[in-house]
Assembly symmetry: C2
Homo-oligomer: 345 residues x 2
Amino acid sequence: MQHSVPLDQRKQQILKAVVADYTRTGVPVGSASLAVHLATWSSATIRNELATLSEVGYLIQPHTSAGRVPSDLGYRYYVDFLMDEEDVPPAVRRQVDPFFAVMPTGIEDILEIAATALAHAADAVSLVTAPRALGVRVKHLDLVKLSDAQALLVLVLEGNLVRQQALNLTAPTDQGVLSAIATGLNAAVVGLNAAGMSRLPEVVGVHAALERDLLTQIIAFMTVCDAQQDTLILHDGVRNLLHQPEFGDVELLQQVIEVVEEERMLAALISAADLDHGIQIMIGRESGMAELSRCSLVLTTYRAGAERRGTIGVLGSTRMAYAQVGPRVRYVAQRLGRAVGRALS
Amino acid sequence: MQHSVPLDQRKQQILKAVVADYTRTGVPVGSASLAVHLATWSSATIRNELATLSEVGYLIQPHTSAGRVPSDLGYRYYVDFLMDEEDVPPAVRRQVDPFFAVMPTGIEDILEIAATALAHAADAVSLVTAPRALGVRVKHLDLVKLSDAQALLVLVLEGNLVRQQALNLTAPTDQGVLSAIATGLNAAVVGLNAAGMSRLPEVVGVHAALERDLLTQIIAFMTVCDAQQDTLILHDGVRNLLHQPEFGDVELLQQVIEVVEEERMLAALISAADLDHGIQIMIGRESGMAELSRCSLVLTTYRAGAERRGTIGVLGSTRMAYAQVGPRVRYVAQRLGRAVGRALS
DNA sequence: AGTTAGCACTCGTCAGGGTTGAGTGCTAAG
DNA sequence: CTTAGCACTCAACCCTGACGAGTGCTAACT
């Protein structure tokens, strides 16, 4: 982040007023309209201050005879020093809460619900990652015969995540034998993650060879599950971009939608976020993605129990109501954390 | 469908040329440009014919001094009588085939892949429904203890569709007992659908009461699964609409996207399709949805084995290359049918 | 010295008007 | 029945001038 120029009291008030006005109306704001709001000073005084705020890079003038618009840097200063976060209004709470009233068993469904709820609450595109798990643990497994050559592995993981995968059978095997093996594996394997399973002592018994072979395939599949869960990103609310004037340009819209629909790009974006602080705001070009130069991200962490964290947040225009969006993201994050915590217990 | 006015040879050729030209360029087509293409007649002659084609409602003039644009009725006549379907070009085949090379086990993943493939192949929004099943059959079930009050039901259905649901336990029950019950139920239940299960003879045994209670819950859940699968509609390729000039108007785009994102509306749309014929084309207002008055649907059925059918198709601008889209939809439908058939076996 | 009223100036927006050109419909001759 | 010719229409384009929002600068005031 760039070193920010310190501002005196009055310049701060004016910058804050510019951001507030522009966020509300979307129209460049001039000295006159500021003067009615900040009645302490005349428009001429404000004009002088606006000029210096432009010089130090906090404001931008689209053209000579236009009002001022906050620059990325201006938003940054606002967000860091000036913003008064607004409480989540009851109406929004009443809009969000019902989503978390119906709680499905599977963790993926919960994440999807959170994405929808946040998209509504923040009127932007919402992004949600699965809780980072550092190796998902097995709760239960089962084997179902598909054919002489294949069996279906059904894994119930923590969070009631259900995964399925066809495994190859080295020799035709009865469902009875498969069930026996499954029972045996269940006893040995419950509570382990992929790493733990690969350290299992050698199994013995009538079907030892088959069992060992299947276990290898199961471990491989779990490794894939781990990777998949770490890159899983859900989103919702693309339609919310459509009614915003800054996306009237279809070109721009297209670029943003392409980023959102491409999970790889989202992953890069979210992993770039530094979430040690409670909330991370990336404004315009700060995200490092040219396509999102006119978008901002507001991200936070949700905690499901001790060490299980995921990311949730919002992607919208740089001209978003940061003072409202932050608290709303946190509100949904907290609800989500609780729901996921319950599902993981 | 409206009764179509019969056209003589020359009018047919001209209408066909208008549709071809307009589909390609998106610009209203005038008599002069038609005259170079249909060198047999002068522009004046063509002008006369265009006038009568407008009178009978096959063409529309955006304004007095503009060229002609096909009306919904004009497209309809073209599609019914004039269109020469084009073979799916090798390049498109090479684009589609890789999607079906990696075949996941779960039927939902297969459907998703088909949606993506078709969206690419047809450069429009693709729609795919799950194969209509008239009651999904159970392949395998399992019960996993969650707490003293709840157990997780894991159902493996035909097509390796895995479904999960928390069931309530009337009394604390060991995992051992649950497994025993699951084994017992498996023996009785495999191959049955919800209807079949509700006709099961009364069970007896040590855990008869619990077993009966669980079975009731399972049947209820399966009924829900049936309903869900019948309304499941996947889609992909909304981004393909963005680069089309007719959707430069964000208003219009917004309406269409809202329909696509609302599964209920898609369901109504698709169920309205009459798929006895090989392919069903709904042009503009024929769909009966005001929001889609400038869109067309091209739908067909895919068959997975004997009686298992689903719907797959495309939603795009009325100005779409019908001669290309139809065959491409059929091509993907055929691939999808084969893949689903394999998964259901 | 900081503040402010006043004023000249800039520049985007909008409405009006003339020109252009694509495309038509009609007519009259072939 | 076909077609060349022509008058006509109308969107698109460009130019223009009026308007007004907003600025920067200056000079006077506290």
